[in-house]
């Protein structure tokens, strides 16, 4: 007998918080606002923990239908919540990291105007994010899906007086909408074929279908879902919004654009793994997109000088890893990386925020340096995170990334190769950041850390107790906790090859156990598509482990290589980068300008669209065709009227003429009728 979990409370609590803060926050003191925000986000976290505590007595998957939502004809969707291992992990990550970031933000945003607004938005985000992951059907998931988009729109545009921020928010929302377009179409297809959107029902409905080697409606669904995921998780070609999203306050970047929201795509894809497994083509697409994104984002990350931009691109590329994992049907690996990434990338952002905070809003790494001494706590936590993401053995990032690469190799070595190279790049730009920020001499204007980055707002507070200073406790505690997690978080999933038992994988197994009938599983392995993992596990362990170890080694080397080059270029010979840049010339500039993707999009879609709408549709068709026709016909009527009036010449005899003529006509007609 499973206890009633009242899952619905988990999202609702933050919503309540959001509402209270949103409506009355203006009148509250900052303390009260903080209290409310913490209480409700914490309560959600507590609920999550309680759910975990109930885990032993749970029969998963556990669903609860709250109330009906849409009922039309045979179609109906309820407000339903769904809990399984996957959900549980996401739940913990979201509520946990979310709560931490709530704590952190208090410190970070303390001096800001619209304090209450911020926390109301943050709570709102939690509500939607939790709805997303707790949803029991695609439609409720879509609520969260759109909702987090809204939240990020609001938070990115938090400093709405800055046009860049406002535009960034809008851009994020609209790009996401493009993704949602795909998502919706996928939903329509699902409805059309299965008549329902409920996860369990869809899955069970999918079961009978075999693998669509040559594509089919499942493939279509899968690809469309992927389009949605691309939007939300910033994959090629829709990643463009994420870097701009850094306009938002740093905690927001940490929570939404690193730890949680952007991973929704991964979550959604693995949630629909049953469909993807049957659509090899779609899987390939996912894998390719993931790989390419990982690589390109990394390359761009190298050249960025804005600390947050670097992290943003690294996020994109890490997400790329996750999709690579999904693409090779290693969903649990993807989720694993998702989790660890949540830890260390969240930490990176928070730390970066702390740095920015400490230097009074400066974000350009070239104006930093030598902060190691000044802000030790930040430095050490940052270090931990950097090593984690760089895949230095023993830290969380290492395990997850390694597992992904291993699965990637099993699918196709090219994925693996690019993956490893990307790992190298990752390590390189991360250490570059690390070195540029914390080592060498301080390059910012002395003692006055009041730059003009958009976090300048926070500067107003910080120069009260001027100079470069460590951030307050309330900001450091989350750092420490997250540092701990990013160091040790990986040990839940130590792969068998390293003597672990990959408990994480085992834990998720019930979710991701292949839904394919074994026969088609054979085809799957036979086909160039990714094999469902239990097949690979079963492949004779001995050799499997040895080879896996080799590859592990290679990736580790890549990590250290990155460290080395970064040290070489940015610590030992700081002038070298410019020279390289010059020698590379065009290529460098291309990378620096993010391959001009935004410009290309602008030239290809945005500008033409607007000019066509204005020139052709509005002025052209609306005004010069339709309205013109109307007005002309009106004028024509007046013309005719003028002509008809000529009949009234005013001359009596002409009137008589008309009458006589008419009489003649009448007589003629009547006589004709008579003679017939």
């Amino acid at each position: 007998m499973t206890p009633n979990l009242h899952l619905w409370l988990i999202p609702i609590l933050p919503l309540i918080g959001a509402t209270i803060n949103g409506v009355f926050g203006k009148r509250f003191s900052r303390q009260t606002v903080t209290g409310i925000a913490w209480t409700f986000s914490g309560a959600a976290f507590a609920m999550a923990l309680w759910v975990v505590s109930q885990f032993s007595s749970l029969v998963l998957p556990y669903t609860e239908q709250l109330s009906p939502w849409i009922q039309a004809g045979t179609f109906h969707a309820e407000f339903g919540f769904y809990l399984d291992q996957l959900t549980l992990i996401m739940l913990l990550v979201v509520t946990g990291v979310g709560f931490l970031i709530h704590i952190y933000s208090v410190g970070y945003m303390w001096e800001e105007g619209g304090f209450y607004r911020f926390f109301s938005y943050l709570n709102l985000f939690l509500f939607f994010m939790l709805t997303l992951i707790l949803a029991s059907n695609y439609l409720v998931m879509f609520i969260g899906w759109e909702g987090v988009g809204l939240a990020s729109y609001l938070l990115i545009g938090f400093w709405f007086t800055k046009d860049s921020a406002a535009s960034a928010g809008k851009k994020a929302f609209i790009v996401n909408r493009i993704g949602d377009f795909g998502f919706l179409l996928a939903l329509f297809l699902i409805i059309q074929h299965f008549g329902t959107l409920d996860f369990t029902q869809v899955t069970s409905a999918v079961i009978p279908y075999g693998i669509e080697a040559s594509g089919g409606f499942l493939t279509a669904i899968a690809i469309l879902l992927m389009v949605g995921a691309c939007g939300k998780s910033a994959q090629i070609p829709l990643y463009i919004w994420l870097p701009d999203a850094m306009e938002g306050p740093t905690p927001v970047s940490a929570l939404i654009h690193a730890a949680t929201m952007v991973t929704a795509g991964v979550y959604m894809v693995s949630r629909s793994h049953a469909i993807f497994e049957r659509a090899p083509i779609a899987l390939t697409v996912v894998a390719i997109i993931g790989t390419l994104t990982a690589f390109f984002a990394a390359t761009i990350g190298i050249t960025q000088t804005d600390i947050k931009k670097v992290l943003a691109y690294s996020t994109v590329s890490q997400l790329g890893y996750m999709f690579m994992a999904c693409g090779v049907a290693a969903f649990s690996a993807g989720i694993f990386h998702l989790m660890t990434h949540a830890f260390f990338k969240g930490l990176l952002f928070l730390a970066a925020g702390s740095v920015i905070h400490s230097v009074g809003g400066e974000q350009d790494m070239r104006k930093m340096g030598g902060l190691r001494k000044k802000i030790p706590w930040t430095f050490w936590s940052m270090t931990a995170a950097t090593f984690a993401i760089a895949g230095i053995p023993g830290l969380s990032g290492f395990f997850s990334k390694d597992e992904i690469l291993w699965h990637a190799y099993q699918a196709n070595w090219i994925y693996w190769f690019i993956g490893v190279f990307t790992a190298f790049l990752t390590a390189f730009y991360m250490f570059r950041l690390w070195f540029m920020t914390f080592f060498g001499e301080y390059r910012g204007e002395a003692e006055s850390g009041h730059g003009h980055g958009h976090d300048a707002h926070s500067a107003h507070g910080s120069h009260g107790h001027g100079g470069i200073h460590e951030s307050p406790k309330v900001m450091l505690i989350p750092l420490v906790i997250l540092a701990f997690l990013s160091v040790f978080g990986g040990y839940v999933g130590v792969p068998a090859s390293l003597g672990g038992s990959n408990r994480f994988d085992a834990f998720l197994a019930p979710v991701f156990h292949s839904t394919l009938p074994s026969a088609s599983a054979e085809q799957a392995t036979a086909g160039e598509s990714a094999p469902p993992e239990h097949a690979t596990e079963s492949a004779e362990p001995g050799t499997g482990h040895s080879t896996e170890l080799i590859f592990t080694g290679i990736s580790v080397c890549a990590g250290f290589a990155g460290l080395f080059f970064a040290w070489l270029l940015y610590h030992r010979r700081p002038q070298l980068p410019q020279e390289i840049a010059l020698s590379l010339g065009g290529l460098y500039r291309g990378v620096l300008h993010k391959y001009y993707v935004d410009e290309i999009y602008g030239a290809l879609f945005v500008k033409p669209l607007i000019s066509i709408s204005r020139g052709v549709f509005w002025h052209g068709i609306d005004q010069h065709v339709i309205d013109a026709t109307l007005d002309d016909s009106a004028a024509g009527a007046r013309e005719i009227s003028g002509v008809v009036r000529r009949m009234q010449s005013g001359n009596l005899r002409s009137y008589a003429g008309w009458i006589a003529f008419g009489a003649a006509a009448v007589v003629l007609y009547m006589v004709w009728v008579g003679t017939r």
Binding site: W69, A72, D163, D180, L185
Partner: protein
């Protein structure tokens, strides 16, 4: 009185209370305050009375309810036949719901010829309700035409800018279109000897109408053109922006909120109800027009320099969704279409109210005149954002449900139409958010805007109901769908059967 008599009388009450109020206003002295208060009271009263309908509406039954059917004119055989089913029920309530808000919103914005204004408003309400409850084709046409004059006068007398042009354009455009419907109605009467919708429907379905097969297409078109102009469907839409831009706020609210729905309601009730076969035959090009409306409207809305025009063109786009849903002939599509009608009524009505509030303060709708308003008027901007999101179609708000249903319906009917229409999701986000950004975000560019007062109590009381309604409709749409669904199902089914019967007759011949 006991509920039975009330049930028969209720529709007449709901319909004519506003008219009675208007006539009483005639006798009022020209003291503005009293007039306003009285108008508010009347409209509220009507709203409360109208709540009787959903309260006592039997959702199990699909037919017409609260019917009243008595001979009005013996020859030609015209009946005073009213009744509502799940389709018209909510449109009536929508009307009565919006009117008090209109009264509130025009409280201060109308200071000249106040009496005339509110009389026209109330008369307007009566006519609108009448359109939705009339089951006698004559009665329907009666109210249909009756809506023209009050609206034209509201625009022409209380509008601004090229108000005369707008009013005359609106009047003639819709008038010319609707005479075709008159011709069709008269033809039907000549053949069947009755104006009663139900009887004519039965006559057509049982094939008792002489020369029907030959004339059906023309009849369909006759009705369709009238409705298409009202909706307005793509090539006929140009009157809408002009009318909206020049109209006073209340006018725009009723125009967008209810008047346009007359067209879609007509399509649903009469085109589908009477000429299912023709409707199905012509569905493809109608849907294409609807598609053009959706995308075209959105794109044009995107580049408008004028708030109200943006909203107006967005209406073109949204109504396109409705038509698409109706002519998808799927349960989902029709449900969705109905739901969009209601949702659009609420959210676009609210949008126009908000625009009007801004106009009261700055006397312009030019977007370029604004910018950074979020700083001086946070509450206002919050409301605005909320409504914008509602009409963008954010889940949990009213816009989403209908859009989703319509799209999936259209998708099932014709996949590519569905896909094309689905892009509308993107466009709506584009133009609305862009407008929102240009108006509210950034720094305050005009000094005038620095001192703009935020919403006062009256304006909030006008806006909150709309906002709440938007939320409730988004969270609990089943409350509406429960009664819409059977009605739509019935109409679909009947149309199917009649198509089948006609087909069988054709085969029989």
């Amino acid at each position: 009185m006991n509920s039975a008599t009330l049930d028969t009388a209720i529709l007449s009450l709901v319909t004519f209370i506003p008219l009675a109020g208007g006539l009483l206003l005639l006798l009022f002295p020209r003291r503005h305050r009293d007039i306003r208060v009285f108008a508010l009271v009347v409209s509220l009263l009507d709203f409360i009375v109208s709540l009787h309908l959903p309260a006592h509406f039997d959702r199990a039954k699909s037919g017409f309810q609260f019917q009243i059917n008595c001979a009005w004119i013996t020859h030609p055989n015209i009946h005073y036949h009213m009744g509502v089913d799940g389709i018209s029920l909510w449109l009536v309530v929508l009307t009565t719901f919006l009117t008090p808000l209109c009264v509130l919103i025009s409280w201060n914005s109308i200071n000249d010829r106040v009496k005339e204004f509110f009389i026209l408003l109330l008369v307007m309400e009566t006519a609108l309700i009448g359109v939705f409850v009339a089951l006698d084709l004559f009665l329907f046409y009666f109210f249909w035409e009756a809506t023209l004059i009050p609206m034209a006068l509201l625009i022409g007398m209380f509008g601004h800018g090229r108000k005369v042009y707008a009013a005359v354009k609106f009047f003639l455009y819709t008038m010319i279109a609707s005479v075709f419907m008159l011709a069709a109605i008269l033809w039907l009467y000549a053949q069947t000897g009755t104006f009663d919708f139900v009887e004519i429907q039965q006559a057509i379905q049982s094939g008792h109408v002489a020369h029907f097969s030959g004339a059906a297409l023309w009849l369909f078109l006759g009705f369709f053109i009238a409705f298409a102009v009202k909706v307005p469907l793509f090539p006929f839409h140009t009157w809408l922006p002009d009318a909206h831009v020049e109209a006073p706020t209340a006018g725009s609210v009723l125009l967008a909120g209810v008047l346009l729905k007359m067209g879609t309601y007509g399509m649903l009730r009469f085109d589908l109800g009477l000429f299912p076969e023709q409707s199905r035959h012509n569905a493809p090009w109608v849907m294409i027009l609807a598609l053009i409306g959706i995308i075209y409207g959105a794109l044009v809305a995107m580049v408008q320099p004028n708030m109200k025009k943006v909203i107006a063109y967005s209406s073109v786009s949204h109504l396109g969704f409705v038509v698409l849903g109706i002519f998808s002939f799927t349960q989902l599509g029709l449900d969705g279409a109905m739901f969009i009608m209601l949702a659009h009524g609420v959210s676009t009505g609210a949008l126009f109210m908000l625009a009007g509030i801004l106009y009261e303060r700055r006397h312009t709708y030019e977007i370029s005149e604004f910018g950074g308003l979020a700083t001086p008027m946070p509450i206002y901007s919050t409301f605005f954002l909320f409504v914008v999101l509602a009409s963008v179609g954010l889940p949990l708000l009213n816009g989403f449900v209908g859009e989703f249903l319509v799209l999936s319906g259209a998708f099932q009917a014709h996949m590519w139409y569905g896909i094309a229409a689905c892009t509308g999701v993107i466009w709506s986000a584009c133009y609305l958010l862009w407008m929102y950004q240009r108006v509210f975000f950034g720094k305050v560019t005009h000094d005038k805007n620095n001192t703009l007062p935020d919403l006062n109590l009256r304006e909030r009381t006008a806006l909150i109901p709309a906002a709440v309604m938007a939320l409730v409709m988004g969270v609990a749409p089943f409350l509406w769908l429960k009664s819409i669904d059977p009605a739509v199902h019935a109409s679909l089914a009947s149309s199917l059967t009649s198509v089948a019967q006609i087909a069988s007759k054709v085969v029989g011949r």
